[in-house]
């Protein structure tokens, strides 16, 4: 028994649990105290306020509805087909244990975040060292929009799946990688691009393109498992077909209010974000400028990573995920999508090895984290 608890991986899990809980508790306290001071109302109690904010903000209400009722073809919630099924399914399974959908959603996110932190730590520890690993986990926790990690959102689950994919890629465990990436396709649109780093690592491991020639004979049976990854996304499309009679029913819903989303070139989208920030004060501070600066900053980071020998598959995923997120027109959740892009945090943890850069990134992240957490609790348009 003593030996079991002394296992390094379990010790690490306990540390990660502690770290995540402390970070979430501090953030929650900041939000709650700020609202209490703002209202000047001693009668405001924690739980009613917290649950009203976190169960109704943004997409949370859709996930809770889906967990409870499932997808529908008609009515107000027909549009909830745009949300992927894995996270609502996880809420439903957790609800069987805890008996409340909202608490189940929070608990599912928290557990995923703890496990994701463990995987991120191990991933960076194997690639670099302990301190870089710790920075990776910390950066995720202090990202200005990390308030979503503790809410009823898919981000924590998706980060868990992405970190698992990268971790098992490092171990060359192709079948596990394929299975986790399959689940990624059932969780978010960005899940489908997990295929790219996997394909790249596989080609590299098997030396499939050595000397500019494709070596068919080096393909192994694991290639079949990798080829099955897009089936995760295929299952989502099949669900569209079964529920609403069209493989791409979600596309029509995305085009309609409240999302108005289509596809457009990234440059045009960034220009549109600027125009919106000019026309709709103060949305620029909450939605559009974080998106513009987040996109340009991420591009700079990816460029830096390419020149500084960071693992290529991380960069491939980072760019692919960023592309998928920022080619969506009328984007309002860009800052949250960046939170779900694990590569950004992996690259940042390497970038901040320099003390001055670390000080700069930590300061900017911390100040903005407080600002956006309070704004989220205030009910501002933090999407």
């Amino acid at each position: 028994m003593h030996k079991f608890w002394a296992k390094p991986s379990l010790k690490l899990l306990l540390w990660m649990t502690l770290l995540v809980i402390i970070c979430r508790a501090v953030l929650t306290a900041i939000g709650f105290v700020a609202i209490k001071i703002e209202r000047g109302d001693a009668a405001t109690t924690f739980w009613p306020l917290f649950s009203s904010i976190f169960s109704k903000a943004g997409d949370s209400s859709y996930y809770l509805y889906l967990a409870e009722h499932g997808y529908t073809a008609t009515g107000e919630y027909a549009k909830s087909i745009v949300f992927y099924p894995l996270y609502p399914l996880l809420i439903r399974l957790t609800e069987m244990v805890v008996g409340d959908y909202f608490i189940a959603g929070l608990l599912a996110s928290l557990l995923c975040l703890i496990l994701a932190s463990w995987y991120i730590y191990r991933l960076l520890q194997n690639e670099y060292d302990d301190i870089t690993a710790l920075r990776g986990v910390l950066l995720l926790q202090i990202y200005p929009f990390s308030v979503f990690l503790g809410g009823v959102y898919t981000e924590s689950l998706f980060i868990l799946l992405t970190s698992m994919v990268f971790y098992y890629l490092q171990q060359r465990a192709w079948k596990t990688v394929a299975l986790v990436a399959f689940l990624g396709g059932l969780n978010r649109t960005q899940g489908i691009v997990l295929l790219l780093p996997i394909l790249y690592e596989y080609c590299l491991a098997q030396q499939l393109f050595q000397s500019c020639s494709f070596r068919w004979q080096r393909l192994t049976k694991e290639a079949f498992a990798i080829a099955c990854i897009p089936m995760g996304y295929g299952c989502y499309l099949l669900m569209n077909k079964i529920v609403q009679g069209d493989w791409f029913a979600f596309v029509e819903h995305l085009k309609a209010p409240p999302w108005y989303q289509g596809a457009a070139w990234v440059g045009d989208n960034i220009a549109q974000h600027f125009a919106m920030s000019e026309d709709h004060y103060p949305l620029g501070f909450y939605i559009y400028w974080p998106q513009i600066l987040g996109f340009l900053g991420s591009m700079a980071l990816l460029g830096w990573a390419i020149r500084n020998g960071v693992r290529t598959s991380w960069i491939i995923y980072g760019l692919a995920s960023l592309t998928l997120s920022f080619t969506a027109s009328w984007l309002i959740s860009g800052a949250r999508y960046l939170l779900g892009n694990l590569s950004i945090f992996l690259l940042l943890s390497v970038y901040v090895q320099n003390e001055l850069k670390r000080l700069l990134v930590y300061s900017v992240f911390s100040f903005l984290l407080v600002f956006y957490t309070i704004a989220f609790w205030q009910g501002q348009s933090i999407m």
Partner: protein, 286 residues
């Protein structure tokens, strides 16, 4: 500010994508790209300088005859009128080149001109790459790089990065020959099919393929392709232009070998530059 952000975001995105593409290629193919990369860098600088010179000369010629016109307007009008319109994809079964223009045009708005120029330019770099692969074993890296310079100043080279399918066809032909030499049937069939879709003269590939099967002599493929191309160009209904000389492999190889000699190199350079001046004069003022 809005336009600045739009351009900055696009440039940042494209730059990172290109840098990443290069990194992936180097890692996957184990450094084959490095030599080519050096070549491309050299080529791009030369092209930029050369194109700038040519454009300025063309503009000055135009000014001398027709009076003052803004340099940007002049090139936009001249290039568009001269080259772009015949390649619009109007037929019910378009060829590959105009079809590619249409596809890329969905992303980049100036479909007829901007896309066709960038597509031609990219295809030309691709053609240079495969030509490099085909010849560097027999004549070494430096002569091939010299060849690129010589090719650059050929009187009709300017047309290779203007709208036109010559670059694309050259790229696909050299790629086909390379994959045939490597005995990679899949990529070979794909490149041949694409080349045939681009231009019927790709049928001339029969000659080097049959030749290599009969003679078992791989090094003859460029010469046999040239022979086949000449035969097909003489057929009725086949429209031949001066720039099509650049499709022929063997003269390119010969020119490359000649440019090993500094004296020949200078001579060829001078002749080419004089001829380019003549071509420009004819196209602008004639």
């Amino acid at each position: 500010m809005q336009q600045f952000l739009q351009i900055s975001a696009s440039i940042a995105f494209i730059s990172v994508a290109l840098m990443l593409g290069k990194k992936c290629w180097i890692e996957l193919t184990e450094n084959t790209f490095v030599v080519f990369n050096e070549m491309v860098k050299k080529q791009c600088i030369e092209i930029a300088l050369y194109v700038a010179t040519i454009l300025t000369i063309a503009w000055i010629m135009h000014q001398a005859k027709y009076g003052l016109v803004n340099i940007v307007d002049f090139h936009a009008i001249w290039w568009r009128d001269e080259f772009a319109l015949p390649y619009e994809a109007k037929s019910s079964w378009p060829r590959l080149y105009p079809l590619l223009i249409q596809i890329f045009g969905q992303v980049i708005k100036d479909a007829q001109f901007g896309v066709s120029v960038s597509l031609s330019f990219t295809a030309w770099l691709g053609a240079s790459y495969f030509f490099y692969l085909l010849t560097h074993d027999s004549i070494g890296t430096q002569p091939v790089q010299n060849h690129i310079s010589s090719w650059l100043v050929f009187p009709f080279t300017l047309q290779l990065w203007l709208p036109g399918n010559t670059s694309l066809l050259a790229c696909l032909i050299f790629a086909s020959l390379w994959y045939w030499r490597q005995q990679q049937l899949g990529p070979f069939v794909f490149c041949v099919a694409m080349a045939l879709w681009t231009d019927i003269r790709a049928l001339a590939l029969i000659v080097p393929i049959a030749g290599s099967l009969l003679l078992k002599h791989k090094v003859m493929d460029l010469a046999l392709w040239t022979l086949g191309l000449m035969v097909f160009s003489m057929l009725p209904y086949v429209h031949v232009q001066w720039r099509d000389i650049l499709l022929a492999g063997w003269p390119l190889l010969l020119m490359t070998k000649l440019t090993k000699q500094p004296m020949f190199r200078e001579l060829i350079l001078l002749i080419n530059l004089l001829a380019t001046g003549g071509v420009l004069y004819a196209q602008i003022l004639g």
